[in-house]
Symmetry: C2
């Protein structure tokens, strides 16, 4: 490798006329007699590098002929305008050094089965579509942090190793913590955020969560990332406003900064633009079951809504839909009952349009100590293990609310990708833990 400064593809637009050096990999190549077109990639973007036989030294021409897909190389040349090329520029090559020739790259342009691609995930990551999805995911993560930090939230990392389950004990990964004691991998940081909200007012966590589920559907991962805000003195109406503002800001950010990636994914951005511009419909569960009845779903009060029902509810809308006031019986023990309709709780689910399903679930939390205690008993949870959680209501209790948003589900919707396994770098699914 040379020792001088190295440029990145993403910065070439502002360097027209300059000679630059780039380092990366060959994405594609087309030979046309005495001209060779190399599509170069360095992770920041793609640029066509043009080698003209009669304009370069003999050794540059022969060196460039050694390049196969995914070979690494260093290329030097002049940046010039090329309106028909991606990014509006191309590079007229003057020098080229091959760093490592790639033989037998396993991911050929032919259609591969998903099982094959998943077993080659460490290499599949390099393909243009996967790169685009991961860049959208990273942008969403960045937007999440900016959203909360600019609003005065403190990030509070919830523990992963926990002594008891947040919501029931099924689907938990278990590990031996010490010789005497077991620990379980967290399914949600919420319970740990509530005491922190009493310390810091507005808090959020962002980290991996785990479900040892046996399902193999496209909507299930065994390890996925979740962002969870929790806000002291916030009640259900404020929570709805927060959730809507949050989704709007994240979506606007992706539209603004990941345009090229959405284009590469051939994403029709109609619903994303509507999401930024229009208020989200809000439907009470009781209304929802009436709507579903007119659509031929025989749902009655007390039934949970499945994927098909969720999709039917969002039909006709081009933004997410917020469904609130679910029956207490089908929701978590900590949700605050509606004072005007105690059969339902002040919970909130946000359903993405286009069949992408639930992206947010949240609620106002019970802040009355005795009511929470009775709910813990009703749900046959061990009171002893929840003592610290009850303490939040014992010492200076306060109304509070929060929600959780699954990063992969949100990213899947942004990208228009139906399967969550492509929305996380190294998916963990049933029978899939390699690489």
């Amino acid at each position: 490798m040379s020792t001088g400064p190295v440029a990145s593809v993403s910065g070439l637009r502002s360097r027209i006329g300059e000679t630059v050096t780039l380092r990366g990999w060959l994405y594609n190549r087309r030979d046309s007699g005495k001209i060779r077109f190399l599509v170069f990639r360095d992770g920041s973007g793609y640029v066509q590098c043009v080698v003209v036989k009669k304009e370069v030294p003999e050794e540059v021409w022969t060196e460039s002929d050694r390049l196969t897909q995914e070979s690494s190389f260093e290329v030097t040349g002049v940046v010039r305008e090329a309106p028909r090329q991606e990014g509006g520029v191309e590079v007229g090559v003057t020098g080229l050094t091959v760093l490592s020739v790639c033989h037998d790259w396993p991911i050929t342009p032919k259609e591969h089965g998903v099982d094959f691609l998943m077993s080659q995930r460490h290499l599949w990551l390099r393909s243009a579509k996967q790169v685009a999805i991961l860049r959208v995911r990273s942008e969403v993560e960045s937007a999440i942090h900016d959203f909360y930090h600019s609003r005065g939230y403190t990030r509070v990392d919830s523990p992963i190793l926990t002594p008891n389950a947040c919501e029931g004990t099924s689907n938990l990964f278990e590990t031996q913590y010490t010789e005497e004691e077991k620990a379980y991998l967290s399914q949600s940081g919420q319970l740990y955020l509530e005491p922190a909200a009493a310390a810091l007012g507005k808090v959020y966590c962002f980290g991996p969560t785990f479900r040892a589920e046996k399902s193999k559907t496209r909507r299930h991962l065994r390890e996925f990332w979740m962002v969870e805000p929790e806000v002291a003195f916030l009640e259900i109406d404020g929570l709805k406003a927060l959730a809507e503002e949050f989704v709007k800001e994240l979506t606007a950010r992706v539209l603004d900064r990941r345009k090229e990636d959405l284009k590469r994914l051939e994403r029709d951005t109609t619903t994303l633009e509507a999401t930024v511009a229009k208020p989200f419909p809000r439907i009470d569960y009781r209304e929802a079951i009436e709507i579903l009845a007119t659509k031929g779903f025989p749902v009655k009060f007390g039934d949970d809504l499945g994927g098909d029902e969720e999709t039917a509810l969002t039909e006709g809308f081009d933004t997410p839909v917020m469904v609130t006031r679910y029956p207490a019986a089908i929701k978590s023990f900590y949700m605050q009952p509606d004072p005007e309709d105690p059969e339902v709780v002040l919970g909130l689910d946000m359903l993405a349009p286009e069949g992408y399903g639930e992206i947010i679930g949240g609620s106002q939390r019970i802040h009355d100590h005795d009511l929470l205690l009775s709910r813990i008993r009703q749900h046959e949870l061990p009171v002893e293990a929840f003592q610290w959680y009850l303490d939040v209501r014992k010492y200076g209790s306060f109304p509070h609310s929060g929600f959780g948003m699954g990063l992969e589900r949100f990213t899947a919707w942004m990208c228009g990708v139906p399967h969550l396994r492509e929305c996380i770098p190294y998916p963990r699914m049933l029978y899939r833990i390699y690489p």
Copy 2:
């Protein structure tokens, strides 16, 4: 609670003369005859609220008398300048509603044992010192993301559940992944970042890592957070520059934005200011053992440096010190040998001043396939399990480097707190997993 807008303490400085409503908790109270001084906290800061008996309705005076430490309440009043108060303002109370009286708050001003405080961690979080530490931690996290995103890195979340260990198999938490298969909790995301660097050029991960260590020292947590950048085509000199720039930027951010918190922690910021201003000394391991010999440590080539040696090496410096070129035999299998001195590797440890120990460890990685393969065999690691990692060197190999920084160790140094357990919201240590 009222339904109007609620202010936060952190915003009061710009609202002098206005009437505001605040919601939060009583931190402290002093009664002086017909005047009552309430130190109010809402997580964003502290402000003194003054209740003057003859200036408020009778019920406000009696209501305010019910307030005990950590009682939650809503207070309305006029913001006025008070140069001798924290934040430069106080509130002249006009209205007050108690939301929940707190009885028997367990954390009294008397000195509590650490075991007691740790078992009350969910409540201890509310104390002023703990709040300050968590705000510094959150600021560092925010600065980490800004550092990488502003430089074009893509965040790539490494998996937590892994089929094999990154560096040996000791100290691993194990879980049953499926009936047939076990999984282990990740100790580092590095191995997974390297293939991603081939896809995206500059990447980083930030997440929890796990060590099932039996140690009980102040420097050990069983669950801690780590940030790891990995950069394609970066070599050891570039890595040193990156690590130094990173630590400088994070430190400058803490000094700039968490001044009040550092003051509350009574942190002498001399080394932090020097860290921002001065270049970091760089010492080769061979030099380091000579220096240690003059200080009476009988270290010879091939010995690892312990905590006492690290502290001795940083003596006399007020910035972090970078130690490089360690013997290959005591470092990880993937570290690139120094071409000019093959007994040592191009590894890098950064030691914080004041005895805070290693905050960064990193290296240039071996990019030659056959050399890496022979190292995997030398270390008696299962080649089969590392096939995907070897593939990074098989298909378009490239020099690359990266490091890992432990968030809690860095936060401990920033705050001047000797024990890591206070630098994470819910510490996980040997015999400590509750709450």
